[in-house]
Symmetry: C2
Subunit: 140 residues, 2 copies
């Protein structure tokens, strides 16, 4: 199963350790994470060598070819919001996770498309349970 | 012409004065702004009386029925990102404006759908020129 992981890049990089944790967790369980770069330190330097169009096309296409999307939405980000809607357009199940107490968007929490699930987590154990529940359930 | 204005709500309210300025500017020129509430102080209290689904449905439907979308993307926001993509899905021309120096998302700057224009502004005069240019051009 190919997972597109979405996390804030230009919106703020303070949750990189959480993004890395999620990606390691998924890879350890043999899921393919096609957007592993999101959690890479120094990503902005790598992306600076690409045109904005190249970055857009790469991410938009990865969402199109993935099986499911997992988005960490604690840090507000225009790009992550766009990617979630793009995934819905391509009928991909999307799991949005956020730290308990973070202000999640009504466009996510109230999403009625049937493709978006949003769950708050208070610790790593709960985060892992939410991820596994999403990945092992065929119909969300 | 009906305009849907998008600005950060739960992502951060620090640019409310700019949102208000844009909406006043549009209304003064007789454009109808159907999402005027985005710039209202105390909006979060009003929305607290609505369900998350009601907020989602209201915004998603307003985007569907509007003629054009103007988004202020300086403050990162999952909801605004989602709304821009939703507007593209409904083939609405979208203008994204941001303060010069702000880190705008590659999903916006590199957007190749043909519906999204992104422009930086350094002062109110430039912002007004960008808005008028978008509104008075039939084909973007």
């Amino acid at each position: 199963m190919k997972i597109f992981f979405a996390g804030s890049i230009r919106g703020g990089r303070q949750l990189i350790p959480t993004y890395q944790y999620i990606i390691r967790f998924l890879k350890y369980r043999n899921y393919t994470v096609i957007s592993e770069h999101v959690a890479a330190e120094g990503l902005e330097k790598v992306e600076a060598k690409m045109s904005e169009q190249e970055i857009y096309e790469k991410d938009a296409n990865w969402i199109k070819v993935c099986d499911r999307v997992i988005a960490e939405i604690t840090v507000p980000s225009i790009g992550v919001g766009y990617e979630i809607c793009h995934a819905v357009k391509h009928k991909k199940p999307v799991l949005c996770v956020y730290q308990d107490g973070a202000k999640a968007s009504a466009m996510i929490l109230g999403n009625t498309t049937g493709y978006v699930t949003a769950k708050a987590y208070s610790d790593k154990r709960q985060l892992e349970e939410i991820l596994l529940d999403f990945l092992t359930t065929m119909n969300i």
